[in-house]
Each structure stands twice: as C-alpha cells, then as structure tokens.
Amino acid sequence: MICAVHMQNLAIIRGERLLFQGLNLSVRAGEAVALTGANGSGKTSLLRAIAGLIRPHAGDVRFEGPLGDLEAEDARSQGVHLLGHQDGFKATRTAWEELLFQVQWTGGTEASAREASAGLDLDRLVGLEVRKLSAGQRRRLALARLVASPRSLWLLDEPMAPLDTARRVVFGDLMAQHLAGGGMIIAAVHDPLPIAARACDLSGAMRPLA
C-alpha cells in the first residue's frame, strides 16, 4: 500500500534532449495531480519514470508506505497502475478474456472485474473481440481494469481523450471514489480533469543544464 510518492530533483533526458530538471513533486493519499505542458514537454516520460520503465538522468522517485519508505520495486509491482496511450488489449481475444487476465495480473479478482465491467456499462460488449470495439469502448475497458485492480497510485496518460461527455462524468466519479479511498492520481492531460486536482506544469520545470 503506497501512501505517498515523492520526486526529488528529478531530471529526464530522452535522446539528447533534456525534457525537464529540478522537478520536485509530492503526492499523498487522496491527492490528484494534473500534469500539463506542451507536446514533448515530458509528461509521458515522467509517468514512465515513476513506473520505473525509464531511468531518470538525475534525482529519484521514492514511495512511502504506512510504515516508512518502501522498496521501489515492491511498490511498483503492487501499487502502481500505468494506463498509457495504448490500452494493451489483444485484438483477436474477447474483451472479457483480456479484462480478466489484466485484472488478475494486477492483483484483482474475477468478482471485481465483473463489478467494474457492470459499472462502466460494458456488459453487452465483453463477449466481443477487442478489434470490434471502438476507441472509446476500448478505453472504457482499460478503465474497468484500473477500477477493478487494488492499486493505489494511478498513472494516467491522456485518460479521457477518446471518451464522450457522459463517460467523462462517469470517469470523474470513479476518480473521486479512488481518491476518497486513499488513492493517488497523477494524470497527463490537455483538458482539465473533472475532479479537483493540483496542477503541475512541466514546461515551467524546464531550465537549462547548469
């Protein structure tokens, strides 16, 4: 169980380019942060660095549990949930097979998968092959996986892009519930999140290398 995540003096270089440096950010249980910034300012890279998929050039990411600091590897394998641009569903398998696998893989149960699928109005769709779903329906399937898994830190990359207005409201409620239950959300967004969130502008964190 992650209670807080701290980034200290974080710098990320991709290719030859410094995306940002000197980033300090702490997110505690119940808080949401909206990452903003121009295209290429490093929002996705920051999310992937928190998830441990890319190594920061400088600084570190620290996870805090109820009893002090956690091993980063344990925290990531049990408490971090990354939802990127791609949903990660196999086109030729049925939506239910994919949802069930991903929920079980991230620590949820079949019951929680069923509940989430009902909550996101997916019950009529889960028997279909993933390739027959629209972009918005696939995104809802990915959100169902997010909700059904007991992971406290959500890293979301443009989570609302393919969603229609009504689903954005539903998604806002789900995020509010997650925060109320002690969860944390760090989301890269262009449109404002439908919940109260602290803003963090990455373009502002960009300073020339000393």
Partner: protein
C-alpha cells in the same frame, strides 16, 4: 506464484488461439521434410542415412516460425508495460513465455518428429529416442529462441533478425540431438550426446529468462 500461473495460462491460450501457431509450425516442418527426397533423390538407402539429421534440421527451422510473436505483439500493443509492472518480475514473465513456447510448439513438433523421420525411412527402433531428443532439444530451442525474440524488439524486420541471431545458437542442440540418434543407430553409446542436449536445454531455461528480461527492459526504456 499466482501471477506466474495467470501468465502461463494466458500464453498457452494465446498460442492455441487464433493464428494457429502450432499448426503452422507443424505444417512447415512436414513440408520441409517432404522437400528432402526431391532434393537428394528418392533412393531409400540414401534417405534412411540422412533421415534423423534432416528431421532435426527441419525441427530447428520450424521452431523459428512463431518466435516473432513471442514478445513483439505485447511490445506493439503496450501490454509489455503492464507485464513489467506485474506481481512477478519480468524474468518470471520471460520464463512463462519460454515454457509456453516449449509446450505449445516444441511438444507438438516433438510428436511429429518421429513420424517425419520414419516417413523418410528411419528405422522404427529409433522412434522413442527421436521423440525424447526432440522434446528435450525443444526446450533449448524455445529459450534460446526467446532471447533472439526479445533482442529484436522494436526493429522493423524482426523475423529475419531473429533467424540471424538465433540460428548460430541452435547449432549445439542440432549437433547433440542428431548425434544422439546417429550414435544409437550406429550401435554406439548415445548417453553422452543426450546428456549434453539435456544440459543445453536446462542451461537455456535457467539463464535465458534473465537475458530476455534485460532485453525487454532495454526495449521499454
């Protein structure tokens, strides 16, 4: 180890699902072997002499076929991100993938190997040993092949690259596998060759996952 079983079940289901991975490899295996009499002539004496070796060669080539899909699909559609953040380390994910590759491709090919060898004129006494050597050899082919599949992640012509990377690594199992059968057929002691083949397979299964996981992390970063 719940996460490991979830992973293994999914890999098995995907291999047997659409696309017919094992059937494709089997068909390729039989088709390659069928070409042999056309290439070297249909004289039974000549064919029988090369039957076990040719069966092994075709086996190595056939096990290349489904390697491209082993990591590439998960990498392309973003599943690999999710697998990297799972309850078990990427090394265990790679082990599950290698194991599933062996069970769904290596095992059917091992069943077909004696049939192909006998069809080419191999002695019936060789059947059990051909099956066993192909099954054990398949373990090595699956895990060394997996290393090539992981290393080629992100490159455009992945399939060709895998073949170039992996075929040199397939030399030892082909030597020991075909050697086992040649030794048995010639009335020599075949245990050392089978022992070396087993050692290769087990070493590949033990060390391969570390190399695969490192290659995957590199591709993700």
């Amino acid at each position: 180890m719940n996460g490991f079983w979830v992973m293994l079940r999914r890999e098995m289901a995907m291999a047997w699902g659409r696309g017919g991975g094992p059937l494709l490899a089997l068909t390729f295996f039989v088709a390659t072997a069928t070409l042999l009499p056309l290439a070297v002539g249909a004289s039974p004496a000549r064919l029988a002499a090369v039957a076990p070796g040719s069966a092994w060669l075709a086996l190595a080539l056939a096990s290349l076929l489904s390697l491209e899909r082993l990591f590439e699909r998960d990498y392309e559609d973003g599943t690999l991100d999710l697998l990297a953040l799972g309850p078990v380390p990427l090394e265990a994910v790679a082990f599950a993938k290698g194991l599933a590759q062996w069970l769904t491709n290596g095992a059917p090919l091992a069943l077909a190997a004696p049939l192909v060898a006998v069809a080419l004129g191999a002695d019936l006494r060789l059947v059990p040993l051909i099956f066993i050597s192909a099954l054990i050899g398949g373990l090595g082919l699956a895990f060394t092949g997996g290393i090539g599949a992981a290393l080629s992640l992100g490159s455009k012509r992945g399939g060709v690259l895998i073949a170039v990377l992996v075929l040199p690594l397939f030399a030892p199992p082909v030597i020991f596998g075909a050697g086992t059968i040649e030794a048995f057929a010639g009335g020599l002691d075949w245990h050392p060759a089978l022992g070396l083949l087993s050692a290769y397979g087990l070493t590949a299964a033990a060390l391969g996952p570390f190399a695969m996981a490192a290659a995957c992390r590199n591709a993700l970063s």
